[in-house]
């Protein structure tokens, strides 16, 4: 079943943590200075995409 998940473009990300502050699924974490997305917890709602100051996130369809 294809499902939606957020992915990060590491070349754009400025590791600020904005996306982490709005994720109610605990699906991301700012580890030191890189962003880790936990795909199994992400439901593809796109809230993180909306608040990212760098346009570094997008929601894509992925087949699991």
């Amino acid at each position: 079943m294809p499902r939606k998940v957020a992915v990060v473009n590491r070349y754009r990300c400025a590791y600020c943590g904005a996306c982490v502050s709005v994720c109610k699924f605990n699906a991301n974490e700012l580890i030191e200075t890189f962003l880790q997305i936990y795909e199994d917890r992400c439901n593809g709602c796109g809230m993180c995409v909306k608040v990212c100051p760098m346009n570094a996130l997008e929601v894509i369809e992925c087949s699991t």
């Binding site: 600020c16 943590g17 502050s21 608040v51 990212c52 100051p53 346009n55």
Partner: protein, 386 residues
């Protein structure tokens, strides 16, 4: 066993650790990044009184002093506020890279143990204490503590680990980008603020002078913005500072949801951005974070003395920060909700109606003046300001 483990070595965390250590507690201060203070996520402004309440000002961490603030309406109409009247963020422009390290050093000098490049990734409450799982460079181990202080910023995961949901909505944060710019022309004696829906929806653009160049940044409210803050800022910069050079880029998010119900749980206190302590109008966070850190430290000392780390006891910390600035956060959140609805023409009208002959402008004086001229306009926000 530690008395207190503080997660996050920003100003809030370091002041907490310093206060605890000075009072004889056994403290561990953990910072996930390998360098304290870097990358900066801040415009670096703080008022002189707010800084001096906790730290003696030192030349080496103050990048620039300013005498006031200039605020611009969308049509360019300008008002000037003197430093004492411009709020918690205007007076000193810090060098956070140096300042944050200095505060961590003060904590360390007082006796706190400091660990960098170390993540506190899990917390387990058992028998009235907390097991904190730590990870550094692939190595994992556990420490025990009586109290955890979450000073882990806007992206706080400590809060959630202890059952406090501080998840922000798109109308409860400012999404920010800032450039350190050189080769630009500005009045270096002032911090500058540009308002307006077309410039920065739900936020503003700032310019804070530094020793070299200036921090030029923007915050927008994602619920109102049609583009990313970087795109709005690039428009502004290319129009106003076409010859400017960008020598640093930082991004960040500022919680502007106002006062949260409680910043404590059993064995836990939250401090600074993690507790959403930033000012909902200005976005300034250093002043409140340091105050909160001081209060959290004081309550931790008492809690250890009593051997009581329950939520019920730690509520004393809630009372302290709420009595100091919690009500102000709530009031400013309400005011913010009104301000973000104002269109550019209304803002222009308000700015133009402020008489130039008021010598010492204060926010209060301005509101009184506007109130005389536009009673209808200001009627609904007067309670919030006066």
């Amino acid at each position: 066993m530690f008395d207190v483990v503080v997660v996050g070595a920003g100003p809030g965390g370091s002041i907490t650790a310093k206060t605890c250590a000075e009072n004889g507690l056994n403290v561990l201060l953990v910072e996930k990044r390998q360098e304290i203070g870097v990358p900066v996520r801040c415009a670096e402004g703080i008022s002189k009184s707010a800084l001096e309440r906790f730290v003696e000002p030192k030349k080496f961490f103050i990048s620039r002093e300013v005498v006031g603030a200039k605020i611009y309406a969308p049509d360019g109409t300008e008002i000037t506020l003197s430093e004492e009247r411009a709020g918690n963020e205007v007076g000193y422009v810090l060098e956070r890279k140096v300042f944050d390290r200095y505060l961590a050093k003060l904590a360390s000098n007082a006796g706190a143990e400091v660990l960098v490049k170390t993540t506190a990734y899990a917390f387990e409450r058992k028998d009235g204490i907390v097991r904190v799982k730590l990870r550094r460079m692939g190595e994992e181990w556990e420490v025990e503590t009586k109290i955890v202080v979450g000073a882990d910023g806007v992206e706080s995961r400590v809060a959630k680990a202890f059952g406090i949901d501080t998840t922000l909505k798109p109308n409860e944060l400012e999404s920010c980008v800032q450039y350190l710019m050189t080769n630009i022309d500005f009045d270096p004696d002032y911090c500058h603020f540009w308002l307006g829906k077309s410039i920065a929806p739900g936020g503003y653009i700032w310019l804070f002078p530094k020793k070299v160049g200036a921090n030029v940044g923007i915050g927008v409210m994602p619920s109102l913005a049609k583009r990313s803050p970087k795109e709005y800022l690039d428009d502004f910069v290319s129009e106003r500072f076409p010859n400017g050079r960008i020598v640093e880029l930082v991004a960040g998010a500022v919680p502007v949801c106002g006062e949260i119900e409680s910043a404590v749980a059993d064995n836990l206190m939250l401090v600074g951005d993690a507790a959403r302590h930033a000012d909902p109008i200005t976005g300034g966070g250093i002043a409140n974070a340091m105050k909160a850190g001081y209060y959290a430290g004081k309550v931790a000392v008492e809690a250890v003395k009593r051997g009581d780390f329950s939520k019920n006891f730690l509520k004393r910390y809630d009372k302290l920060w709420k009595d100091d600035f919690g009500k102000d956060l709530a009031r400013k959140r309400k005011l913010q909700q009104k301000l973000i609805k104002m269109d550019d023409e209304t803002l222009n009208k308000i700015f133009r109606s402020i008489p130039k002959n008021i010598k010492e402008l204060s926010v209060r004086a301005i509101v009184l003046e506007i109130f005389k001229k536009h009673p209808k306009l200001l009627w609904d926000i007067k309670d919030l300001i006066l």
